[in-house]
Subunit: 432 residues, 2 copies
C-alpha cells in the first residue's frame, strides 16, 4: 500500500438528519476500528444542513459549515462527498453532479436520486474516474448492492425479489397480529415514527419501486427505468384478506420482483400471497429480505433491518470504507445501447386470489363460476365463510395459473353481476 | 481506469476436481459478462492436476500443464494463483507461500489451510503486497467473507453464528424427516455424494470449526486459533433427541458460534437446540446460514448453498473478479500482538436439554430431581413418554440457565444411579 493511501480520508456530509447523525456517530465511536480496517483514518471535515444551531447530540466544531450543499464539492479539504439530503432532484442531484465533476467519490443513501438519475450519474462518474456508491439506498443495512455487484459477480442473475419497504412490512405484520385495519395501523406507525406524515412513498409502493429499479440495474446490467415498473401499494389490503390468506397457507407481503428473460426485463411491486413454507413469509416488522437467483449459484438470501439510523448509517460508512481502500469498480453499468427492453404485465402468468363480497341469495355461485368458465379460468380452491343470514358474504377463490388479461376481464364481468355488494379485489400469488 | 488494468488477467489453477472444473466452466460460460463486470477479460493460462488424461468435460488445450503445483507460481504467464487442491499442509501450503512470495494474488477455497496457516499467509501477503482471498472457504456460495470484511465494516461485530456444514445439516434434516438413525442417513449421504467416504471432518465438526476460526478472525480481528475451539459433532444425536426436541419447540442444528466480550473470544461448534421461532431453524438440507450481530446495524442473516460445484466455484470466481478490479484490502487482519485471549467452556452459561434412559421402577424421578437440586439446578420442563411396562423409559428434562460445570457434574452423578439404563446425553439450548 502506498503512503499516499494512508492519508486521512476527508469526508464532507450534506444532510445532518437521522442518517447523517448516525454516520458521524459511527465515525466517532469506531474511529480506531475503521482506521485499522481501512488502513487509514477518516475524518469529517465539512458539513451542510439547514440549521447550524440545533442540538444534534454531536459537535460540528472544527468542521467547515456550508449553507449550500453544492459548495461541499469544491472544498479542497473534502475528498469524498456524502449526500443525505434526499429527493431525486434539487440540491441532492446538483451536489451529485458537482462532486463527480470534481472527480470526487460520491456516496449516497438516496434511492430516488439513483433510480431517476443513476444512468447519467454513472456516466459522469466514469468520465471523471470517480466512484459512485449507494449501498444504503436499497435494503438499509443489508449489503445487497455489494453482494450483487461483487459477491455474486460470477453469476448470471435471473431473478431478484424481496421485501424492500420496512414501513409496509411493519403495517402488514401488525395487521396480521392484531386484525386491525390498514388505516389504524398506519396512524399508529406514524405516531411511532415508522411511517412518514405523508405515507404515499411507502404505502403506495414508490419507495420499493425505486429500490427495485436499482436492483434491476445492478443485477442484470439493465437500463434504469422507473416508467417500466408496475407499482401497486398496500392500501387496499384488508384484515379479511390477511385471515383468508392464512387459512389458505399464505402470508401477504409487499414484494418487489424483477426478472430477466428472452423477452426482456419485467419489474413489479405489488402485494403478493407467499407460501408459509418460504423463508420470506417469516420476515416480519421493519425487516427487509432480498432473494437472489443466479447461475451457477442457485438461490441466496439476505435479511436484516431495512431502515433506521444505525443500519442505514452502517451502509453509508461501508461505502466510505470502500472509498478509503481505493475501490473504483462501477456499481451501475454504463448506459445500455440500445436501452434494455422491458415487458409489461399484460401477459403476466400467475395464480390469483380473488375476494368477492356477495349478497346472500341463491344462484350466486353458479353465476360466478359461469363467468370464470367463460374466461377459461379454473378454480383451485374456494372458501366461503359462514355469515349472518341476510348479511353480505365473503367468497374467496384461488385460480389455477392464468394470465393478467383473463383475470382482469373475469373480475370486471363479475363486478357487474347484480348480487356483488362491493368491488371485488384480487392479489397475485407468487411462486417462490 | 488505466489501460494496464484492462489487460487480460491470466489465471493459474491448481486442482481440477469438482470445484476447479466449476471455475473453468464459469470463466468459459460467462466470459463476456465477467469481462464487462471486471473491465477486463480473464483467461486460464495454466493448470495443474494429478492426471492430464481424464475427460473432465472441458478442454485444457492451450493451457500450460504442470505436474507440480508450486511451478504455477513462477510461471510468468500466470497473474493470479487459484488453489483447489485441499489439505492444510503439503502442496496447498507450499503453493500459497510460493505465490505470495512472487507477489501474486492467491485465491483459495481451502478452509483448513486458512484456519491453520492464515496468519502466516496474511503476513506474507502484506509483506509482498499481494491479495490473499478465500471467499469460498466459508459457507460456499454465500459471500459472507465479503459481507464481514467490507459490507459490515462500519460495525463492531459481537457475535457470528450459523450452520456451516452442509453435510451435517443434510443428515439432521433427513433424520428429522424420516426418523431414521444417524448411521443409516450417513450411509445414504455417502452414496449420494453428500458425505465423504471418511466423514470425520464433516460429522465430527472439524470442517465447521475451520470455518468458524476464519469467521472469528475476519469478524473480530482475532488471532486464528484452532486449539481454542470447542468441537463436538453430531454422531450422538438420535431420532429420539430430534422428536423430543420438536415436542419442546426446537430443532437440532450443528452450529458454529463465536462471540467476543470483555473476557475474550469464545468459539464453539456443537449441536444446539434452536427455537422453531428462529429463521435458522428452517434452514434445511445442504444449505448454510450465517447470522452476524454488530453495532450499530443489529442482526443480518445470510443464507444459501454451502457447498457443491456451482456455489463454491461462484465464490472462487468472485475473488478473481475482485483481483481483476484491483482490490488490495486485507481480509485477514495482521497477526495480533499479544494474541487474542480465548476463553473455554468451563463457565459457559446455557439452558440444557438432558435425555436419560431409566429403568421402569419407583423412585426414579425423586432420585433424579434430588441430584439436580444438589447442584442447584432447576428444571424448566420435563417430558416422559409412555412406554411398554418393564421397558426402559426415556426422560427428557430442560434446565433453567446454569453452567457447563454444574450440568456435567449433575449428569455424572445421575449416570451413576442404579436405574440408569444407558449413558445420559445432553445438548445445549442456544438463545438466538
Amino acid at each position: 500500500m502506498s503512503d499516499g493511501n494512508k492519508a486521512v480520508l476527508k469526508v464532507g456530509i450534506a444532510g445532518l438528519g437521522t442518517v447523517g447523525g448516525g454516520v458521524i456517530k459511527i465515525l466517532n465511536n469506531h474511529e480506531d476500528l475503521l482506521a485499522a480496517r481501512c488502513g487509514r483514518p477518516m475524518q469529517v471535515t465539512a458539513v451542510c444542513a439547514r440549521n447550524r444551531n440545533v442540538d444534534r447530540g454531536f459537535s460540528v466544531d472544527g468542521m467547515a459549515w456550508y449553507d449550500n450543499p453544492v459548495d461541499l464539492a469544491s472544498d479542497p479539504n473534502v475528498d469524498v462527498v456524502v449526500e443525505l439530503i434526499g429527493g431525486s432532484d434539487g440540491p441532492a442531484f446538483a451536489l451529485a453532479q458537482a462532486a463527480l465533476n470534481e472527480g470526487k467519490p460520491f456516496v449516497t443513501a438516496n434511492k430516488a436520486l439513483i433510480a431517476q438519475h443513476g444512468e447519467g450519474l454513472a456516466a459522469l462518474a466514469a468520465a471523471n474516474d470517480a466512484p459512485l456508491r449507494f449501498e444504503a439506498a436499497v435494503a438499509g443495512g443489508i449489503p445487497i448492492i455489494k453482494a450483487l455487484s461483487e459477491g455474486l459477480s460470477a453469476n448470471a442473475i435471473s431473478r431478484v425479489y424481496g421485501i424492500l419497504n420496512g414501513t409496509c412490512n411493519y403495517i402488514l405484520s401488525v395487521m396480521e397480529e392484531t386484525g386491525a385495519p390498514f388505516e389504524d395501523i398506519l396512524a399508529d406507525a406514524q405516531k411511532l415514527g415508522y411511517a412518514e406524515a405523508d405515507p404515499t412513498f411507502d404505502v403506495d409502493g414508490i419507495d420499493a419501486a425505486h429500490k427495485l429499479a436499482i436492483l434491476s440495474s445492478v443485477a442484470f446490467g439493465a437500463s434504469l427505468n422507473m416508467d417500466a415498473m408496475y407499482t401497486q401499494g398496500i392500501r387496499n389490503i384488508t384484515p379479511l384478506d390477511i385471515s383468508f390468506s392464512a387459512e389458505l397457507g399464505y402470508k401477504i407481503k409487499l414484494m418487489g420482483i424483477t426478472t430477466i428473460g428472452d423477452e426482456g426485463v419485467k419489474q413489479r411491486v405489488h402485494p403478493c400471497l407467499v407460501s408459509l413454507q418460504t423463508a420470506i413469509a417469516h420476515v416480519n416488522d421493519v425487516n427487509n429480505a432480498v432473494v437472489v437467483e443466479g447461475e451457477p449459484i442457485g438461490q441466496t438470501v439476505y435479511q436484516g433491518p431495512g431502515a433506521g439510523e444505525g443500519p442505514t448509517a452502517s451502509a453509508v460508512v461501508a461505502d466510505l470504507c470502500d472509498v478509503a481502500r481505493g475501490a473504483t469498480n462501477a456499481l451501475l453499468p454504463a448506459p445500455q445501447k440500445p436501452p434494455t427492453t422491458y415487458i409489461d404485465m399484460d401477459g403476466h402468468q400467475a395464480r390469483y386470489y380473488v375476494r368477492l363480497t356477495v349478497a346472500d341469495e341463491p344462484g350466486v355461485m353458479a353465476d360466478i363460476t359461469a363467468a370464470l368458465r367463460d374466461e377459461d379460468l379454473s378454480i383451485e380452491s374456494l372458501v366461503q365463510r359462514s355469515h349472518a343470514a341476510g348479511e353480505p358474504a365473503s367468497v374467496v377463490l384461488v385460480t389455477h395459473e392464468t394470465n393478467e388479461t383473463k383475470i382482469l376481464r373475469s373480475i370486471e364481468r363479475i363486478a357487474g353481476l347484480d348480487f356483488i355488494a362491493a368491488a371485488p379485489s384480487y392479489i397475485r400469488i407468487e411462486n417462490l
